[in-house]
């Protein structure tokens, strides 16, 4: 579904992502793991159009979206949930969700799906997003992303700032989404959580892919274990 080929991107004319290729098939959950500063966030932002691409290309369902602006990418069926979430702090949960569906009006059935997934959001539907806790904001960010009925959900470090229990809950929600047929691409620092969920994974360090394969294989890989799983 998503083909990223030799992508290069960076800031101030200095590339941080140096020729990364990633593929995501329909219905798959693909993880990108790597330490801080590896380039995961830069990579995802470039794929979604938040950053300009300096080399390589991105294809989605056969068409090139390399030079698409992020608001156009959002309209072709890809929803991106960045680490900073970028919610609308003075708008209510309901309004945030409604905007997720832009330019269409929010679909009630999609809304109930989101509320089913995140019952706490329904409880707080009138609450201003800026006053919610980290965990609730994360739920809202994902919920908002779902309102446009995306076919591909991209998340950047969804567990940022979440306590372990909430992080696990977050991944349970993602698992539920996967069962419903959602294709997911997620960059994550909390490696055990994400490798449990993912089908395949890539290891990104210093701007390039060091390793890739089935998630189960990577979990058993001694290098991965030493570097990311805290196993001596």
């Amino acid at each position: 579904m998503l083909e990223v080929s030799s992508l290069c991107a960076g800031y101030d004319s200095k590339d941080v992502v140096l020729g990364v290729s990633v593929a995501v098939g329909e219905g798959e959950v693909v993880a990108i793991i790597g330490s801080n500063g590896a380039g995961k966030t830069t990579f995802l932002r470039a794929v979604c159009g938040l950053l300009p691409v300096s080399g390589g290309g991105v294809e989605y369902e056969g068409r090139s979206i390399t030079d698409m602006a992020v608001h156009e990418v959002a309209r072709v069926g890809i929803s991106f949930v960045p680490a900073e979430r970028h919610l609308f702090p003075e708008m209510s949960v309901a309004e945030n969700l409604a905007l997720g569906a832009f330019p269409r009006r929010p679909d009630p059935s999609q809304l109930s799906l989101v509320f089913e997934l995140f019952p706490r959001l329904e409880e707080r539907r009138r609450q201003a997003a800026g006053t919610m806790s980290g965990g609730e904001q994360q739920m809202l960010a994902v919920g908002r992303a779902l309102m446009s009925r995306p076919r591909l959900l991209i998340l950047d470090e969804p567990t940022t700032g979440l306590a372990p229990k909430l992080a696990t809950e977050a991944y349970e929600s993602l698992a539920a989404l996967r069962t419903q047929g959602m294709t997911i691409l997620v960059a994550e620092q909390q490696v055990p959580l994400v490798l449990d969920l993912a089908d395949r994974a890539y290891v990104l360090e210093n701007g390039s892919i060091q390793m890739e394969g089935q998630a189960a294989e990577l979990r058993d890989n001694p290098t991965v274990q030493r570097a990311y799983l805290g196993v001596a």
Binding site: C48, H71, A74, F80, H86, M91, E95, L99, F102, R144
Partner: protein
């Protein structure tokens, strides 16, 4: 006393709407449009000239407002492009300087060609008694229109999809883009709306007192003061600040004098910047 208060409300409503037009443009992208007052006098000129050549008031006013809206759109499509390429303080500074340039060109041209022109719309009918004070129908109509416009704006921003999209860009532009909102399109809309609003204010103001073509800079400064006191980017703030400053203006003019009144308004804005830069309702700067 009641008369002064009522005058203050009438004036305050005008000030409020005036401030809203300028503040939404700032809220959109940290841009100060100092050609704002020029848009108002463009409307005044258009309406005045067309009515002079026989047009009835309705179509003339419509044309005037549409012209101002178009002016706003034109500004956005031309001068604003290099402005939006900058960030933060540089962006505001450049927008300020370029729009002053536009204001000078437009004001200079209009004052040159129509030096004694002033828009004045007379609304017929006898004064109506409000709370024992005879109020001119012009003032009442102006206030009614302003309240309706304000209400329509509130409805637009709260209830319509586009309005929410506008607010989303103000609150978190990246978040808005992630939702599929095109900020450039929203900016075009807001600039156009800003022009229409200031044109409307020119028209309603002319129902209470003549609006001379030379008033461009004055209108811009007034809008700036209201916007600063209300909080740059805050619509609520602009309305409230407008009402307060309008009241202050009416009282001060009545009890003290014209020049001191202006000084008081200026001091109000300066004090706001010094003591509470975010204004009444503005975002934390």
């Amino acid at each position: 006393m009641t008369a002064v208060v009522l005058d203050g409300i009438v004036l305050g409503l005008q000030f409020g709407l005036l401030g809203v037009g300028l503040t939404i443009v700032y809220g959109m992208g940290g841009v100060l449009n100092l050609a704002y007052g020029s848009m108002a006098v463009v409307t005044a000129t258009v309406v005045s000239i067309t009515m002079r050549s026989g047009w009835p008031a309705g179509p003339a006013v419509l044309l005037g407002i549409v012209t101002a809206a178009g002016f706003g759109l034109l500004l956005n499509l031309t001068i604003m492009k290099p402005v939006y390429r900058r960030r933060g303080e540089d962006r505001v500074l450049l927008s300020l300087l370029l729009t002053i340039g536009v204001a000078f060109i437009v004001d200079g041209f209009l004052v040159w060609r129509y030096p004694i022109e002033a828009l004045s719309l007379s609304v017929g009918g006898d004064p109506v008694l409000i709370l024992g004070v005879p109020m001119r129908t012009g003032s009442l109509l102006a206030s009614a229109i302003t309240i309706l416009a304000g209400g329509a704006l509130i409805l637009f921003f709260r209830a319509t999809t586009t309005g929410k999209a506008v607010r989303s860009v103000i609150q978190d532009e990246i978040g808005a883009r992630l939702c599929g909102v095109n900020p450039a399109a929203v900016r075009r809309l807001i600039f156009t709306l800003s022009g229409a609003l200031v044109g409307l204010v020119a028209v309603t103001q002319s129902m209470t007192s003549p609006v001379p073509i030379s008033a461009g800079f004055e209108i811009t400064i007034l809008a700036l003061l209201v916007t600063v006191v209300g909080g740059l980017g805050s619509i609520r703030g602009a309305f409230l600040a407008g009402l307060i400053l309008g009241m202050v203006n009416a009282m001060s003019s009545f009890y003290i004098g014209a020049y001191v009144t202006t000084i008081i308004l200026l001091i109000a804005a300066a004090l706001t910047i010094l003591l509470r830069p975010s204004g009444l309702f503005g975002e934390r700067t």
